[in-house]
Amino acid sequence: MKLLPALTLAALLCLLASAFAAQTAGEPILIGGLFAESGPAAFIGTPTRLVAEMTIADINAKGGVSGRPLKLISYDTESDPNIAQRMARQLIEADKVLAIVGPSTTGEGLAVKKYTEENHIPAIMTVGGDPVIAGGKFGPFAWTFKTPQRTSTAVEKIYAYLAAQKITKIAVLTAKDAFGQDGLEQLKALAPASGVTIAAEESLDPSGTDFSAQMFKLLEAKPQAVVVWTIGPAGAVAAKNFAELPGAKPLLVQCHGQPSPKYLELAGAAAEGTLMPGTKLMAAGQLPDSDPQKPVVLRFIAMYDERGLEKQFPLNTHSGYAFDALTLLRAGLEKAGKPDRDALRGALESLTGVVGVSGVFNLTPEDHNGLSVDSLVMLKVEHGRFTLAQ
């Protein structure tokens, strides 16, 4: 008679298990994540994964997508295109994910894109560079999307601000990496239409520690503003070198990759008065109530704090991109009505009015980013913090 209690227990367990299964309602939808959690881009990749996990938990807490929870399977790409390609294949072929979020850098994005385009896998990337969705020699981008603003959008924002200040003559200092190269191309391409002339050009090595010589040469051309295009500490170094030069100086404008507490910390007093376009995350408190992004941005910041992420990775302009990628993914899945790659792709490129942290997304088959100049604000450093520039 020892069998009976055992059987009863087994039956009970089965009941319990089915009760739990009913709660989550249906199989989870698998989403792949590629984040550079080590290597040179780890400072972007690691917080991106944490935000992705936070967003997935939030989506699931609200009932998931069509009653099914999302499940994130993520791998570290080591900031290396070869490993990113390998991990993407593992996600698709072994883990059988529906779509991919990430990777973190443009080089990795291009390496992954080759495979995802050929095999029809929707990929929503959080890379800064435009080539992933530029077409032409960078290949088709039917299945590739990206959430950070295009470089051209940031350049337009800067030029619009300069025009309002009646500034027409500028000098540019751009990084030698892919990001800086992209910036230089767009700065040059959009200058004529915006009535801006580039009086001098210099380049910098993003791992360099002194750009005084370049700054000095640029100032010789007597520009009304100097635009610096680089990500990371080099921007702060440039600001310091700029501040240390003698004489009256023009405006210093940084690019949209720069707004972060780190910049303020590294540049110190030299940051005062510098300008840069940034996402609305950086000046959430000052947004007008009419801004549709305001509630989303404030809610994001609250969640970010609640999870304790602020202590590890103080909020910067990049923080929201993974949130936006998953917000787009959810909106796309809901519009598609079924977890199917073809349907998801079609739904994604016809999404309009999706409010995210980085802006209001209006995608089209030609525009796989969907953010306009309105998604950026012009920030000015005043008293050691970012404020909306007038």
């Binding site: 959690e37 791998y75 080591e78 294949r89 291009l110 080759k114 960078f138």
Partner: protein, 316 residues
């Protein structure tokens, strides 16, 4: 006896790799192919360092030259993969041999610096020709390799076996060269350059031959890699590749064949399994190199014959 045992070990290693190629799922093959690509570069470096005793950090540049040349030539000459491979290999052979001639006069440390400069020059060349090469961002390679009887090469298995074939070819050429008069001349330069010259070895000539062979081999590996990954960027062929090749060759033992190949395959696989360590992987890399330099085949604390040389400092 020892030679027969080495041949048996080599045959079983390649047989094992061939079996792996048939049974592994495609996405796992990609990883092994990437390791094989590195292994070919290690063998390429083995010609200069293992035989000639010259430390070269130019492998990345030669590999990149092959990759970019093939990516740029294929659209002009579709279907001409074999001809392109021949042209690329010959051109890079000539370039590497020419570069090595003046460098031969330099002492060990300075030679490493000069070859490092070759890699940096290559990167800057790619950056400054950005309308052609796509600059830092790199470019997509849409053209396919096509070989007689096989047609256009696509998919993981064909590329895996091409890499394996290239590695096998490099091993056979290396073994032949090592056993030849040229190989002995190179080993003489390796052990004692002055004595070799005194014995009538034309040092610059034999070493430039070894340098050229290594360059051509790297270029072919780069060519395969470019079409396999479908994407080339200067970052893939930077100093990092040169350093990795040097690291694994030193760990596996310069001048040997199976040691370096086994080092690449085993350690790269192991390193890719310790993802969870994050940044600490760099530390593991450093520790490995340190251990290899102390107790490895050319290690300082290794008793007895190191590889097949006992010249002081020859392993650096």
């Amino acid at each position: 006896m020892a030679a027969a045992r080495a041949r048996a070990a080599g045959t079983s290693l390649f047989a094992l790799l061939a079996v792996l190629g048939c049974v592994l799922p495609d996405y796992e093959l990609l990883a092994v192919s990437q390791h094989l690509f590195l292994a070919v570069n290690v063998m390429a470096l083995n010609f200069c360092l293992g035989l000639g005793g010259q430390v070269s950090l130019a492998q990345g540049a030669f590999c990149g030259l092959g990759a970019y040349a093939s990516a740029l030539l294929h659209p002009e000459l579709p279907g001409g993969s074999l001809a392109i491979a021949a042209v690329v290999a010959t051109a890079v052979y000539a370039l590497a041999a020419a570069v090595s001639r003046p460098l031969e006069k330099l002492g060990e440390g300075f030679l490493a610096m000069a070859t490092l400069a070759v890699t940096l020059i290559f990167t800057n060349l790619i950056l400054s020709l950005s309308p052609l090469t796509g600059g830092t961002a790199g470019m997509m390679v849409d053209s396919k390799l096509s070989l007689p009887f096989l047609g256009a090469i696509t998919g993981d298995k064909p590329y895996y076996f091409l890499f394996l074939g290239l590695l096998l070819a490099s091993v056979l050429v290396f073994a032949r060269v090592r056993a030849s008069r040229l190989g002995r001349a190179l080993l003489a330069c390796h052990d004692d350059p002055e004595a070799a010259s005194a014995c009538g070895v034309n040092r610059a000539a034999v070493r430039s031959l070894a340098f050229g062979l290594g360059g051509a081999l790297s270029a072919l590996a780069g060519m395969l890699q470019a079409h396999y990954s479908g994407f080339v960027s200067p970052g893939q062929y930077s100093l990092e590749l040169s350093l990795k090749a040097l690291l694994f060759l030193v760990i596996g033992g310069p001048g040997r064949i199976l040691g370096p190949i086994a080092a690449v395959l085993l350690l790269e696989t192991a390193l890719s399994k310790i993802h969870f360590l994050g940044e600490a992987r760099v530390l593991v890399h450093g520790l490995l190199l340190g251990l290899a330099l102390l107790w490895g085949p050319v290690g300082a604390f290794r008793t007895g014959r190191a590889g097949f040389t006992n010249a002081p400092g020859a392993g650096t």
